[in-house]
């Protein structure tokens, strides 16, 4: 296999993703786990770029790193003590978690192996067209219009629910 710059960067991203994902589950300090999750999400965004999914890569960063991870950290910092945020891992949890992870891994491998579009894809160096326009067409002018609207209504309901729960008059 030709070892080129692209290979180098790809394996860099892959290593980054896997190593930091391992850190997320092994590290004892919950805040450290959250920050290594940031590196994992970045690595996954990098892999999306290699799969020619530019829009998805940016969405990954903006939604997961800029939104969800910030909320996780907010929750951790506001609820527990300062530097003593340690997690206990018992052996039973470890086994169960390992089994679930292994099952998920096997499932994903099967899916990857049986996806014809990936198997038959020959990279002749031509770049695929940008994905943004296609995604927009599919969501707003195509088969995914209904799911998109259903999801947006669901999110709206969640938003109103959150506002309702956090209101003072209701809580008192």
């Amino acid at each position: 296999m030709e070892f080129t710059l692209k290979t180098f960067i790809f394996y860099g991203f892959a290593l980054m993703t896997v190593a930091s994902a391992l850190l997320v589950v092994t590290v004892r300090n919950i805040v450290h786990a959250a920050f290594s999750l940031m590196v994992t999400l970045f690595g996954v965004a990098g892999l999306y770029v290699f799969l020619q999914a530019d829009f998805l890569a940016a969405t990954q960063v903006i939604v997961y790193v800029g939104g969800i991870l910030v909320l996780i950290l907010f929750g951790v910092m506001m609820t527990s003590g300062r530097l003593e945020m340690r997690i206990h891992i018992e052996r039973g949890q470890l086994l169960l978690g390992g089994a679930v992870a292994l099952a998920l891994f096997m499932l994903l491998l099967t899916v990857i192996a049986n996806t014809p579009a990936w198997k038959n894809r020959i990279d002749d160096g031509t770049a695929l067209p940008p994905t943004t326009e296609k995604i927009g067409e599919l969501i707003l002018n195509g088969p995914f219009l209904l799911p998109f609207e259903v999801v947006s209504v669901l999110l709206l309901v969640a938003l109103i629910g959150a506002a309702l729960i956090s209101r003072k008059e209701v809580r008192d």
Partner: protein
């Protein structure tokens, strides 16, 4: 080796001379570096060396060198801006500002920088050392990665991303992670309070910011920064700020939210000196503090540059056919104008309270921004193409709206202010 290759046959084939980052136009730059090595460097080398010259590695080194130049040049901006800020502040307060180092104090920032390098690099012993050391780099790297997508002129841009403005939003949303990192790892109340305030503020103001960017994207029908600039190439009235009345409102929402995003007065609650010392970077000293400082001023320049690109024509000139306010100089002048506006606001307005800050965002900016999106959509249906008529109508609406706003503001200010509730 062939088995190994077959194993990965499903993956894209990594060959540099073919497609590198597919949708991101980095390839031209890479090809440029590779051509430089192939055509210029190798013929000049002795034959024995040339035969084994690692072109791949060389290309990468050229890339790193370019990035290095970039990272070395951009901090010069803060060097100028910090001095400018102090001079502007002095002018506003009827002082002279720094006058001792160099003529009119022009070398003051350089002296301060040298001083900061030689200062003690203090790490709080009770804090989280690893995260404390990493945090400045996260903020610094994200602030600088934003510059990669900003077109300074037709040819001076690092990369013409297809998802340009979206990339900028994504990268700048990571800065808040660095802020939380710094605040938490310092093990100090001031730092933690500052970082929580900053995170709440940045996450809130990202929404009106993104929504007002969306109005522009709706009109241009592209996320690419170069295409956004290209759509404003017919002089000052084709700039997106004047294109519809809604983008005119969107510009102000964008700019005010951007000031909140970079934590400057009147939105500087995360670093409010009178309450929480210096916010999330209270415990930092020496060069690490300088990194925060450089990142802050680089951010200031970056958001102004984005505002210019999105609303004020980017590097396109003010008159079609004439090179007034065009090209790189025009772009920089426009951007520095907005930076000056930020400084002006900083030394004019007092700081907001927390409840005022959140009210402004959630009760005013977000509804107005949504109204803008609706309005832009309707405008796009009525005027699918930009014609003289649409621009005249738009400018007439903006003009009458400004006059109405002036009249209403005058009437409101003449009234006695209602007593403020002291909830916080």
């Amino acid at each position: 080796m062939s088995d190994f290759r077959a194993m990965f046959s499903g993956f894209p084939d990594f060959n540099i001379s073919e497609g590198f980052f597919p949708n991101i136009n980095l390839q031209e730059k890479l090809n440029w570096a590779e051509e430089f090595i192939q055509n210029i460097l190798i013929p000049r080398l002795p034959e024995g060396v040339a035969a084994h010259f690692p072109v791949e590695l060389g290309t990468m080194l050229v890339m790193f060198a370019c990035a290095g130049i970039f990272v070395a040049v951009v901090p010069l901006l803060p060097l100028v801006l910090v001095l400018a800020e102090r001079k502007v502040a002095a002018r506003f307060q009827n002082r002279t500002g720094p006058m001792r180092v160099g003529p009119w104090g022009t070398l003051q920032t350089l002296a301060d920088g040298i001083k900061l390098i030689f200062k003690e690099d203090f790490i709080p012993p009770q804090g989280d050392k690893l995260l404390f050391l990493l945090a400045p780099y996260v903020i610094f790297a994200c602030s600088f990665a934003v510059f990669a997508a900003i077109p300074f002129s037709q040819n001076i841009l690092v990369s013409d991303f297809n998802i340009g403005i979206f990339y900028i939003m994504a990268i700048s949303s990571v800065i808040v992670m660095g802020v939380i990192m710094a605040g938490w790892s310092s093990n100090s109340k001031w730092s933690l309070l500052g970082s929580l305030r900053s995170a709440a503020q940045i996450v809130s103001y990202e929404i009106p910011l993104g929504l007002s960017i969306l109005t522009v994207v709706m009109l241009v029908e592209s996320l690419s920064m170069t295409e956004i600039v290209a759509s404003q190439s017919n002089g000052v009235f084709s700039w997106l700020i004047f294109r519809t009345p809604f983008t005119f409102i969107a510009f102000f929402i964008f700019f005010i939210s951007a000031i909140a995003e970079v934590n400057r007065t009147p939105f500087d609650l995360p670093e409010a000196e009178s309450e929480i010392v210096a916010g999330f970077h209270t415990e930092y000293s020496g060069m690490r503090f300088a990194l925060f400082f450089i990142a802050e001023y680089a951010n200031m320049f970056a958001v102004s540059a984005i505002a210019v690109t999105l609303f004020l024509g980017g590097w396109e000139g003010a008159l079609p056919g004439f090179d007034i306010l065009g090209g790189m100089p025009g772009f920089v002048i426009k951007t520095l104008g907005l930076v000056f506006l930020m400084m002006w606001l900083r030394w004019t307005l007092p700081r907001l309270r927390v409840d005022q800050l959140m009210n402004l965002c959630w009760k005013y900016f977000i509804p107005i921004a949504f109204f803008n999106i609706l309005g832009t959509g309707i405008w796009g249906l009525i005027f699918p193409e930009d014609t003289l008529v649409s621009i005249i109508i738009s400018c007439a609406i903006i003009y009458s709206g400004l006059i109405a706003a002036y009249a209403i503001a005058g009437r409101v200010m003449a009234q006695k202010p209602a007593p403020q509730p002291s909830s916080i």
